[in-house]
Amino acid sequence: MINDMIKILLTLVLILLPLSFAPDSKARVFMKRDEALKTAFPDADNIEKTEIFLNKKQVSEIESLARAKLDSRLYVIYEGKRGGESLGYAIIDTHHLRTKSETVMFVINPDGTLRKAEILAFFEPPEYMAGDQWIELFDNKGIDKNTLKLGKDIPNITGATITANSLASSIRRALAVFSVATDNGLLFSEAGN
């Protein structure tokens, strides 16, 4: 039996190996930005973008809310609209993991809770990437000080400490940016409109 298994496995490897030479430059870039925004707001007839320039006070407000450092004072918030009605918001964030980065899109409900997080590109070896089910734990979570804590609200079973922490921080940051931007009237239209 064991010899059969070995033969099957080796044959499979030899048959499949040439496939890895097939050109597919998007293997680790799962979705481009425009494509991602379309999937974020499938019903939108218009996606507006607002550049958010944060002042120092707003930065410190966000950092305290997110329990994470901001490395930029410029954020772009996209808003999906249908007939002038807001369908939600999206923030795309690229952050470093070990040496390489990942890009994640956060889709935010008008009430400031996370609708979903979607990894758009991942450049570390794939085994460090968080699974869908794990990412879905953040769905519908909001940014108040007692939530989104790794190891408490969000389990970290796989031992992927760096990637898990990094993604969790990034989610908190995005929600905090959105919250502060809304509170300070930095968006074109107020949330919920």
């Binding site: 795309i92 690229t94 079973i157 031992g159 760096i162």
Partner: protein, 517 residues
């Protein structure tokens, strides 16, 4: 009066006529204010415009003087002649429109300038955002409105190349009664990855154990492999591979497990860190609401029966170093995560270990024999994490054929016999007390006391004619603490009660410092 031919021929007028034709729509409203005569002229001109509209439309896309000439020449001489005077009038009108424009420009309000600055700002913001998110921005187009900006950011798209990481277990100390106290720089491990293409990736861990090769240390490749990525569900891997068996063998960064030392079951029965040369498949299968499955299935060079001992399996490993592969083993692990809080895993190893080696033992009736030494290992485990609680349970069972011949091969007699069956399990649980606290800074600290209970017997059965050594029937209780000031750094202390059926137990205190980046 200037002759029409020369008028048309003059570059100034050619440009003027052309500009005029371009401006016609713009000055359409102005023409309403023209006198009757002017209206007539305007009508004529409109006709000219209509006559040459198609041609003009085509030509205006490329704005150069040659085109002007062509446009101008297309106007028939007759048409042009009658309009000679009117052109002059229009020229005057154009001058007044230009003056109006100039006036408008000079009256430009601060709001206009603000708008222009705002627009520039937006362009800059967009450029910066494109650079930040380069990986997911569409491939830049050189016809982009903002010129070279997107092209300049293209370099960021080339997110290939080197990735570096690492972990270590430092100041690993043992304080023991009636024995030497030891402190060791146990492991310093560097991780290097290199992405050749989106589909072909090199990954490795280079390990320095016990500080220096001058003493008892070693420098080894812990793994070094090439991944060939096809689909999330099915990918290929080849090289020096970590055997996918148990929990710790593949995931052994110090921040991921309780205790200074790895559980004894995962050292003495599952010989971590166990790596051999091989190829295989791996992948993740998303079952949507039913969770997810990830698996690895490899063929690797098998163990070497010369390494079998009564007390542990650590000598079985060849570590991929000029490894015998007269016998090839099948090693596989499947993990199922029904919920993110829980993972259930199972591993199997099947392989002959005789490696075509003859027994050289003149005192043995098996002298000169070759044997298969079929070795099977099965493992099952559960990991869970909920709120501050974390726990693991693991059980392993092994069975060895030809144990008598293995004993002959290794000159093992009496109670030194290899076990033809082994089993072991451990349970470990901890609670992060600081999960109750609310941190206001970036990192939630982690302070988790834990308890681990292990029971294992590497000689739970021996071939007839040999005896079990009760020293190999062991149980160990460990109580300790993992403290992580940040998630990447861990300080560990523990106290162990190490006991066996021979009752020659001893206790020890251990401490260690670990990191991962």
């Amino acid at each position: 009066m200037v002759k029409l031919g020369s008028t048309i021929g003059s570059p100034y007028v050619r440009s003027f006529i052309f500009t005029l034709l371009l401006l016609l729509p713009a000055i359409g409203s102005a023409s309403q204010e023209l006198s009757e005569g002017q209206k007539e002229f305007a009508d004529d001109l409109a006709q000219i415009r209509s006559n040459s509209a198609k041609q003009i439309k085509k030509q205006t896309k490329r704005r150069n003087q040659d085109e002007n000439i062509i446009v101008a020449q297309r106007l028939s001489d007759d048409e042009a002649e009658t309009q000679d005077e009117r052109i002059e009038q229009l020229e005057e009108k154009l001058e007044s429109v230009t003056n109006e424009l100039r006036q408008l420009k000079s009256e430009s309000t601060p709001d206009d300038r603000l708008q222009s600055i705002e627009e520039k700002l937006n362009i800059l913001a967009e450029e910066i955002d494109n650079i930040k998110q380069a990986s997911v921005v569409e491939e830049p187009s050189y016809e982009a409105v903002y010129g070279a900006g997107p092209a300049a950011s293209k370099v960021y798209l080339k997110d290939r190349g080197l990735s570096i990481g690492g972990y270590g277990e430092l100041i690993v100390g043992q304080v023991r009664k009636d024995e030497d106290n030891i402190v060791d720089a146990q492991r310093i491990v560097l991780y290097f990855g290199y992405k050749f293409t989106e589909r072909i990736i090199f990954n490795s861990e280079i390990e320095f154990e016990h500080a220096t090769t001058d003493k008892s240390g070693e420098a080894s490749a812990e793994f070094a492999l090439l991944d060939f990525l096809l689909w999330p569900e099915l990918n290929l891997r080849g090289g020096l591979l970590l055997a996918p068996f148990g929990i710790i063998n593949e995931v052994h960064e110090p921040t991921t497990f309780f205790g200074v030392f790895r559980p004894s079951v995962e050292r003495n029965i599952i010989p971590t860190t166990w790596r051999e040369n091989g190829v295989g498949i791996f992948g993740d299968i998303d079952l949507q609401a039913a969770g997810s499955i990830n698996y690895r299935a490899y063929v690797m060079n098998s163990f070497d029966a010369r390494g079998f001992r009564a007390s542990n399996n650590r000598g079985l490993r060849i570590d991929g170093s000029k490894a015998l592969f007269n016998n090839i083993a099948f090693v596989s692990r499947v993990e199922y995560e029904p919920l993110p809080y829980i993972a259930v895993g199972g591993s199997v190893f099947l392989g002959n270990t005789g490696q075509d080696q003859a027994i050289e033992n003149e005192e043995s009736p098996f002298n000169g024999d070759k044997f298969s030494g079929f070795f099977q290992m099965y493992e099952g485990d559960v990991q869970f994490q909920y709120r501050g609680f974390e726990g693991r349970a693991l059980a392993v069972y092994t069975s060895l054929d030809d144990a008598v011949r293995v004993n002959a091969l290794n000159d093992l007699t009496g109670d030194d016999s290899v076990g033809d069956e082994q089993w072991g399990y451990y349970l470990v649980g901890g609670y992060n007390l600081l999960s109750l606290a609310n941190f206001t800074n970036q990192y939630a600290q982690y302070f988790a006391p834990f308890v681990r209970w292990e029971q294992y017997d590497t000689q739970s059965s021996v071939p007839s004619g040999f005896e079990r050594n009760p020293q190999n029937d062991r149980n160990e209780l460990t109580i300790g603490l993992n403290y992580k000031p940040i998630p990447n750094v861990v300080v560990k202390i523990e106290y162990q009660w190490l006991d066996n059926q021979a009752d020659d137990s001893h206790n020890q205190f251990n401490f260690g410092l670990g990191y991962v980046f």
